[in-house]
């Protein structure tokens, strides 16, 4: 696979995880330091299913996502009712526990040596279509009442409760969905790099996705997607800066957030309406 395609494919896969974080942290203000662990779960479970148990890819993917969602339900159930910073702490602990188990269960996971010999099953088509579907899903989700509920809960939980919104259920739903996104991204990555190791899924990775969401703009889906592409491509683009690379990357983020405290794109959304309107017969013009 060509270099550009390799990179784009990783960006697409990671963007899906970032979209999960967008729903969870951007829209709902829930900070999870364990999202990467869900990615790891997706990666390990699917890889083990395919490599050790010869399951078909699609089935393995399904199982992996379900496992991640199931664990998200458990973690969410225990922690989403209590204070928000508890959620951050609990997800952090969960992430540590998951990577701990990955390291410990050497017979199944290969431990610190990682799990290799994964076949290359992630095609560019699969990755890019998946990203498109994911974006489309989040877009629809946000436009629906779930989006408004998210905003309401984020800014005043009590008021949201007294108007009938089941805040706990909502948060759980979002958390489980975001876990599914992360897990699926993990699957795509695992079958792309063909090697996974526990160290890939630490809390720093989760934090990176949070940064991406806020960099692009937590109130803008367009911003999140573009921010995600920019920041995921940046390390490659900045290669020429050699050892300064990561520092420059950090400075870039700091500068942008300082200049645009609501993220690069603020609340701006790319709209296809003007384009669509071009194709619409004149008489059908909507009356606003």
């Amino acid at each position: 696979m060509s270099f550009i395609l390799t990179i784009s494919l990783s960006i697409a896969a990671y963007s899906i995880a970032v979209l999960g974080t967008f729903m969870l942290t951007g829209m709902n203000g829930l900070f999870s330091l364990g999202q990467a662990a869900f990615m790891g779960l997706g990666a390990y479970v699917s890889a083990i299913m395919v490599v050790n148990y010869n399951l078909p890819f699609a089935l393995a993917v399904l199982i992996a996502i379900l496992v991640a969602m199931g664990l998200a339900v458990l973690v969410g159930f225990a922690t989403l009712r209590i204070r928000q910073d508890f959620f951050a702490l609990a997800t952090f602990g969960f992430g540590q526990a998951v990577t701990g188990l990955m390291t410990e269960m050497v017979n199944v996971t290969g431990g610190a040596m990682g799990f290799s010999n994964i076949p290359r099953l992630t095609t560019p088509t699969l990755a890019f279509t998946s990203l498109a579907v994911a974006i489309f899903f989040v877009w629809g989700f946000r436009k629906s009442h779930f989006g408004k509920d998210s905003l309401a809960i984020r800014s005043n939980e009590l008021a949201a409760k007294v108007e009938g919104i089941d805040v706990f259920k909502h948060k759980l739903t979002v958390f489980v969905l975001s876990a599914a996104f992360a897990a699926y991204a993990g699957v795509l990555m695992a079958f792309h790099t063909r090697y996974v190791e526990p160290a890939m899924y630490g809390w720093i990775a989760s934090v990176t996705w949070i940064i991406i969401v806020f960099f692009g703009g937590r109130d803008s889906l367009t911003g999140t997607v573009l921010g995600s592409i920019i920041l995921l491509a940046a390390p490659e683009a900045l290669r020429f800066t050699t050892a300064w690379r990561t520092l420059i990357y950090c400075v870039l983020i700091l500068v942008i957030i300082n200049l645009r405290p609501r993220g690069l794109f603020g609340t701006w959304e790319l709209s296809l309406r003007p384009i669509l309107n071009l194709f619409k017969p004149k008489k059908h013009q909507e009356v606003q």
Binding site: V133, F136, F137, G140, F141, K143, S144, H145, F146, K148, D149, L151, A152, R154, S155, N156, L158, A159, A160, K161, V162, E163, G164, I165, D166, V167, T173, L177, D219, T267
Partner: protein
Amino acid sequence: MDKAVIVDMNHLTKMFGGLCAVNDFSGHVKENQIIGIIGPNGAGKTTILNMVSGICPPTSGEIIFKGKNLCGMEPHKVNQMGIARTFQNIRLFEDMTVLDTVMTAYSWRAPYNPIETLFSSPRVARFDREIKEKSMHWINRVGLTEQAHAVAKSLPYGMQRRVEIARALASEPLVLLLDEPGAGLNQTEVQGLVDLIQDLFSDLHLSIMLIDHRMEVIMQLCEWIYVQDFGKKIGQGTPEQVQKDPLVIKAYLGEDISNA
């Protein structure tokens, strides 16, 4: 014609640490009735509404609504059963327009799950359109038509109160709890509010529990009034009775009520 009791509060007590905010309060609201709760600051009025709306569970006592005890029920359940409220300290959502704010009150009725939003099924579209229309209706009712697309939090204080009322109405409740809706309105505007509540009341067959310190609001609207002081009920009755009650005058109204 005797109306049936819709919310029955029995021996409600709420302690905060050593402080008894509400002490053995009993009372009820009947169908299509407006009752008032008055009393000095800190008397426990808001706390009563908080208990009814599920925000703070009573230390003891029970609240019967539709044959069920609301105590220990979560706020969203209480709302879904048909009790909506406004807040004394306004609680609006950051960055949301008036319309969006009001629409969220319909969320829990949505018939679709998150996955369906992906396909934008007709159900999703239809529901969203319907609640938009309904929400606009409530916004019109409280007179905020022009402000529908303004960010709720940037509105002047008086209008923010009306956003809260619209949001509560959008829950399509049987019982409406209003905590000082008249605060921050001038004397002419207060009259407008009274008329609004009166209209809503008769159109929607609501039951209303009302807290206010503006006597013109309470006296014009309420059929029955409970008077609280230091957490204790010190009197109840029709507006006329309460106004003449010496205990109430001493604890709450003061000798000279003409200014109020």
